[in-house]
Amino acid sequence: MKTTTRVAKVSAATCTAFTLLLTSCIYNRQSAIDPAGPQSGRIDTLWWSFFWLLGAIFLIVMVLTAMTLTRQHRGFEQEPLEALHKASEKTEARLRSVITGATIVSIVILFVLIVASTVTGKANSELQNKKNPLTIQVTGTQWWWQIEYKMGDPTRSLVTANEIHIPVGRPIQIRGASNDVIHSFWVPNLNGKRDLIPSRITTEWLEADHPGAYRGQCAEFCGLQHAHMALWVIAEPEDKFNAWLEAQLQPAASPRTPEEIKGEQVFMNHACIYCHAIEGTPAAGQSGPDLTHFGSRRGIAANTLPNTMGNLAGWILDPQTIKPGNHMATIEVSSGDLQPLLEYLESLK
């Protein structure tokens, strides 16, 4: 009985630990203290230095405060404190010099922190001097991200949404813009945030040290669906990234199966085309995310849901329940048309 409980307990604990580990591997890639690039790495170092130094100060102050409770008037016994409500001139002078000393020490510490903060800021801005940068324009829109890769050659420009692929070890310049209200681009594992402000272009530099998928989220309140405006940054080795880029630069894959062909017709015959573009087809709407390579992306509705056929069906049939207030119109799709449409969209790898 006892051993059984113990085994059960141990296995439960292991299970929990494992689950925690697993979830942290799979999902929890949106953390400021889990750096995956030089920028966030330096901030992480700065954070822990602040944490230990200021934590020590906090402890000292707390211990001193607690001691006021215990040593109420040791050493001040002889003074007629109660009658005069003040200690002797000697005690006052002693206390004053302690306060002065503490103040001078705090000034010195804060000067050190100012230097540390400034030097970190400077080091982080050095990235823009590194060679061979890649420029990506991120445009915030209520409530999704438009991503544009600006190559030197305009024919090789690429528009996608809610998912950024970057090569590992190459500096990335994020040019931030906004179509409507202020948003904020934030991928904590790579760097701090940068606001996207209408009528301005803001820039941020980041770089990934090792491959991985890093989640980011809009950090400036931008209206109803501020909570559902996420994006993925996927860092890949250079060759894998180039392959991805080449694939993305192609027009949309032509439908192959009869289902997919029917699906394409369904798409073209419905209102979808007023908002969405699919390169290589007549669909050229601009107000919604570009769907040319929709099937290759991880999430739908700005990563509100994972990109599965079931989720997509739910999203198309009733977007306002999944993400209330979003700008996707509800479109009547007959039951016979839905499956082909899903197959077609998911085939757009």
């Binding site: 949106q30 040593r71 940068r194 803001t202 209206g223």
Partner: protein, 635 residues
């Protein structure tokens, strides 16, 4: 309480003077009379009561927020309702609770501590209260008619602009700001005039109680900070209603300009809230550690410096907007330097407690709680001052944790302490100490349980102002903990209310000075008479009630058959001339109603500004129109 002849000089006829004072300071009867009170105790009490009701409202909103965030993908509140509630929560707490409650306490305490009979402009004082009350009603009218603002308490354009938030909700918000501005500015002006010109004879600048210094500095900050929010909210309102382009990016306006102006007000606002609270702490520490403050000059110095530096911090709310790095780093330096001036005050309090003989009352409990929480909040503030750290922590739950530590720790805990400390003065009865301690510990535990986990949540990437979050982000457990903590805070709040209600009837009768405290308000009876003092006190020490009896003095020769006070000089508080204070008046209410018609109407139709101005002008003329007979002149 009847004044006894033996504590006053024989040259005066105490019986007659008290009789006359009672007559001349008597409140008018009836509903109309109640609406025309102008004594500072009545107005101060109204402010405090209204503000505490707002604290309750804001607290209920906070509970709704926490309940929604209890678990991932919770469906308790939808996005629309959630956005309305967090906006109303922030707005209520900042504009309708924190600032007004500090002002209410000041209105009540400043004339008593300064040793005078009323604030300098009693009718303006009443007017300020009515404007505040109408602001409250205006915002909550919007809330209950489902036009609650939903763009955050900061209302950044263009989200708050006409294009992205049509309808009236944001107009309600912006105009509510106007109401509270008017109220705050009225109070600030009269507090400055009272402190500068109506201190008891002998209360020179170096003898002013630290609370009086803090509220003086706070009032000056209001004078310089509030005009910025006047402009910000007017920009927003006129862009929305009459089509100007101040902050409309489509037409050459700049949304960042709004942020600059808003935070030029918004950062000092935080200090406007907690500088008076630091004054409470000083008063409580001195009274309950039973000794003079260590480093009076350093305390005053730190407060003045705080007041100035607070105006040089605003850009640290805007580090993510891509300003030049040198420009941002200036604000890093000033934001860190303000930690020194706050630190000096903490050191002085600890030294005072260290070398004093602290009496562990509930008020002092709250001071200890304040030190623990506020120091932690201050230190996370130092972290946020560093640009690189702020870029990660900005707009995350780390910031939510930080400013709740600073504002609840730095303002609400001292406020509760102050309430326990001054409750006997307000009502004549002490609050229950056992319940008080329970109240403190429940609040303290609940507070830390709610807000400490938020630091970690922020670092783990949880942004602010999201109405829900997906499972598996590693946020679930901490959010649940925070929600449990929020409910514990609510329990603490209930304990406070129970204690307050219980003590009204059953509290121990306090007498004039239950704590054997040092400052002048404890020389008045509890609760104070409408005229505060039979004879205004004269001061010969920084701690007048601790001075030996032979050094105490009183002022004689003021008329008692009308409301008269003494004007003294700014620096040394030497008697200068006598000053006739106005009595009760209904005009403040009438004027406030007229101004409200203009303000509230303008949300619906711009012409109301004109009509409102005209009727308000008429009301103000009525207010100032000389009564017959003209007050006698003695010169």
């Amino acid at each position: 309480m009847r004044a006894s002849q033996d504590i006053y000089p024989q040259s005066v006829d105490v019986e007659r003077d008290v009789e006359q004072l009672r007559n001349s300071w008597r409140h008018p009867r009836g509903v109309l009379g109640w609406l025309s009170f102008t004594t500072h105790q009545a107005i101060g009490t109204r402010y405090i009561v209204t503000a505490f009701i707002m604290l309750l409202a804001g607290g209920i909103e906070a509970l709704m927020i926490r309940t929604q965030l209890m678990r991932a993908n919770n469906g308790y509140l939808g996005p629309e309702r959630y956005n309305q509630i967090f906006t109303t929560h922030g707005t209520t707490m900042m504009f309708l609770f924190a600032v007004p409650v500090m002002e209410g306490m000041a209105i009540y305490l400043v004339p008593l501590m300064c040793g005078t009979r009323n604030v300098a402009f009693p009718r303006l004082n009443a007017f300020g209260y009515w404007m505040y009350l109408f602001g409250v009603l205006f915002l909550y009218w919007g809330v209950f008619t489902n036009t609650a603002p939903d763009v955050g308490w900061f209302a950044y354009p263009p989200l708050s602009g006409p294009q992205y938030t049509p309808g009236k909700s944001t107009d309600f918000w912006a105009q509510m700001i106007t109401f509270t501005e008017v109220s705050a500015l009225c109070v600030a002006a009269e507090i400055i005039a009272t402190i500068s010109k109506m201190r008891a004879p002998g209360m020179s600048l170096n003898r002013m109680p630290l609370y009086i210094w803090s509220i003086l500095i706070q009032s000056w900050m209001i004078i310089f900070a509030m005009p910025a929010i006047v402009l910000a909210s007017s920009y927003l309102l006129s862009d929305r209603t009459v089509g100007t382009h101040f902050v409309n990016p489509a037409e050459g306006g700049d949304p960042l300009l709004y942020q600059h102006i808003f935070w030029f007000f918004g950062h000092p606002e935080v200090y406007i809230i907690f500088i008076p609270a630091l004054g409470f702490v000083s008063a409580i520490v001195v009274a309950h550690a039973r000794r003079e403050i260590v480093g009076y000059t350093a305390m005053v110095l730190a407060q003045i410096a705080n007041g100035f530096i607070a105006f040089g911090l605003w850009v640290h709310h805007m580090f993510a907007t891509d300003l030049p790095q040198i420009g941002e780093a200036y604000f890093t330096a000033s934001s860190m330097m303000i930690a020194v001036t706050s630190g000096v005050q903490i050191f002085c309090w600890i030294a005072t407690l260290w070398s004093g003989r602290p009496r562990m009352t509930t008020a002092l409990h709250f001071v200890y709680g304040f030190i623990a929480i506020f120091v932690l909040g201050g230190l996370t503030g130092v972290m946020l001052a560093a640009v690189p750290l702020d870029l990660q922590a900005h707009d995350t739950y780390f910031v939510v944790a930080h400013f709740h530590y600073v504002l609840i720790g730095g303002a609400l805990f001292p406020l509760f302490g102050a309430f326990y400390h001054w409750h006997p003065k307000f009502t004549g009865r002490l609050m229950n100490e056992t319940l008080g301690r329970a109240n403190f510990w429940v609040l303290f535990a609940g507070f830390n349980l709610t807000f400490f986990p938020m630091h970690i949540l922020g670092l783990k990437g949880m942004p602010r102002r999201i109405y829900t979050y997906p499972p598996g982000m590693g946020w679930d457990g901490l959010n649940l903990l925070a929600t449990v903590g929020a409910w514990i805070i609510a329990a603490g709040g209930i304990l406070f209310i129970v204690n307050f209600l219980w003590s009204r009837k059953n509290g121990e009768v306090a007498g004039n000075n239950p704590w054997d405290a040092d400052s002048l308000e404890w020389a008045a009876s509890s609760p104070p008479a409408n005229y505060n003092f039979e004879y205004l006190p004269a001061v010969t020490s920084r701690y007048p009630l601790w001075a030996p009896r032979e050094q105490r003095g009183v002022v004689t020769g003021l008329a008692t058959d009308r409301r008269e006070a003494l004007v003294t000089t700014l620096m040394d508080a030497e008697p200068h001339h006598r000053y006739i204070l106005p009595g009760s008046s209904i005009w403040p209410l009438i004027s406030a109603i007229c101004v409200t018609i203009g303000f509230a109407g303008s949300v619906f139709n711009g012409w109301y500004i004109t009509w409102g101005a005209i009727i308000s002008g008429l009301a103000f003329i009525g207010w100032f129109w000389p009564k017959r007979p003209l007050e006698p002149a003695h010169d």
